[in-house]
Symmetry: C2
Subunit: 299 residues, 2 copies
């Protein structure tokens, strides 16, 4: 084990996997979450023991893997925020999907405290998080990259270095979420349309993955519908949030995004009809309900 | 060369490549097109010589690779239609993207003449057509598959056998076109949105191909925009036609397809503003124009 010390905030589906990747890379890794069961489980699986206030000043990096901008700000600058407790020169690796302007604001406030902020949203999902093979869409000053290097390397197969200032990472993440969100909903639209024409979901999955209609979203999400398994590895409610961020930014830039807007409506219909906590492939249930179709049941 | 004889109707971007694959497989291949230059070129590159009326009765198969249902019907049953000239037991391999009901109607009319119809739309684009590595989405009676086997094998890496009656191939093709059309337009939407946030098209291509937003459409079409090259390997005007077929079928089935409908509007805006003959990635020019962006120029 190296003497590099890192704390990770947020041990949910993504953060827990990323924390494990840090441990396996030999970094001394503290894990924190409002869910104390997750903290205990992580400590039993190689996480370091210690209250944050006792270790804060010795950390090389803090990684923040929470749901959104509000939680990121709360972790850093809330009533019990960590920023003021960290030593100058500590790297702050912020992984949530946020607006580029928010990332720039966090970078500025961290810089006032001498902290090295990296705008570092990730792509790849929970499996790649656990493997330490995410793509990281990163931006920040060179000193921040240098300080955070062991953390970024441990969590990823590829670090895209997108700029010397925060915002560029979140911009690319917004682009990626826009396409991913559209393509999950488009897959659901096409699969259920196919059902009206006698194409069974399993046949759709087999054939279209070998045709021009293929996408990462299809390969990743269509099996859930075919298997009737809507356990929320990634939930429907991610998309009203992330596509909402995208369309807010687009509106500010006077950018017309009609396909993204149409996809957002389908996720809102899913969430509004009680499916928000299900796997995001459950957006297919909206299409099925509207067309009087019966999706495959879990066997 | 085997003694199997095939005629291919339509020597456009797809048909010319498929004709070459038939020649390379050792089949005696006649090529016909209203463009006599294409016919002469094909004859100089291995195509068999002979007027259709002289060879019609000796053919094992006729392959029809035209633009749409109207042209398919004209080739088969128009004023100078081929169907009545073919011997009983000849396979008719119909590759255009058409509505499933149209495919069923053609199969029935061919059956009256003793012809073995295969509903055989293809996926893969012009490069795979030339390589003989298309995916064929095929349906028809077992005798038709048996008779057409040398042709199907020569043109494809994979023949999906989707049913014993015409319609199933065209249904799957409609599903595939729905997704492909949506995803080309979504790629253009995301790439140009990224430009408003400082993400350059080349950076978009490099990064998103390794993230969750990736798709066949992105890998296939984004390079054209990055390189400013809109030569029409596949033209904008394909999509008002194919997404129109999809939405007509969807309407008949009372299926609500809002994402596909939004994508169609973008292609219509491209076609209506004079871009119909350009590469379908030129749908990005609609987004760029609406947002005051300048796309990369050809270097």
């Amino acid at each position: 084990m190296s003497d590099y010390q890192v704390a990770i905030f947020g041990l949910g589906a993504m953060g827990y996997g990323m924390a494990g990747a840090l441990v396996r890379a030999g970094l001394k890794t503290y894990g924190y979450d409002i869910n104390t069961d997750a903290m205990t489980r992580f400590q039993n699986e190689g996480g370091a023991l210690g209250a944050f206030q006792d270790v804060a000043a010795t950390l090389d990096a803090a990684v923040i893997v929470v749901v959104n901008a509000a939680q990121t700000e709360a972790v850093l600058f809330g009533a019990d925020g960590i920023a003021v407790k960290l030593a100058k020169g500590t790297a702050v690796v912020a992984c949530a999907t946020v607006a580029p302007d928010f990332a720039r604001s966090m970078e500025a406030r961290c810089a006032e405290l001498g902290l090295l902020y990296i705008d570092a949203p990730v792509s790849g999902g929970t499996i790649k998080a656990g493997e330490g093979t995410l793509s990281i869409l990163a931006a920040g000053v060179p000193e921040a990259f240098e300080k955070a290097a062991p953390v970024l390397d441990a969590m990823s197969a590829k670090v895209f270095r997108l700029g010397d200032a925060a915002g560029a990472g979140s911009s690319m993440k917004a682009v990626n979420q826009m396409l991913t969100g559209v393509q999950i909903a488009a897959m659901a639209e096409a699969m259920t349309f196919g059902m009206t024409q006698g194409v069974e979901p399993a046949q759709f999955l087999e054939v279209i993955t070998q045709c021009a209609g293929n996408s990462w979203a299809l390969e990743s999400r269509a099996p859930s519908i075919v298997n009737g398994d809507y356990r929320p590895l990634s939930a429907v409610d991610i998309w009203p949030k992330d596509l909402g961020i995208v369309l807010d930014i687009a509106k500010s830039a006077k950018f017309s995004a009609p396909i993204t807007a149409a996809a957002l409506q389908q996720y809102l219909a899913a969430s509004g009809s009680g499916l928000g906590g299900e796997h995001d492939s459950a957006v297919a249930k909206v299409y099925a309900r509207n067309a009087g179709l019966t999706l495959p049941k879990q066997t």
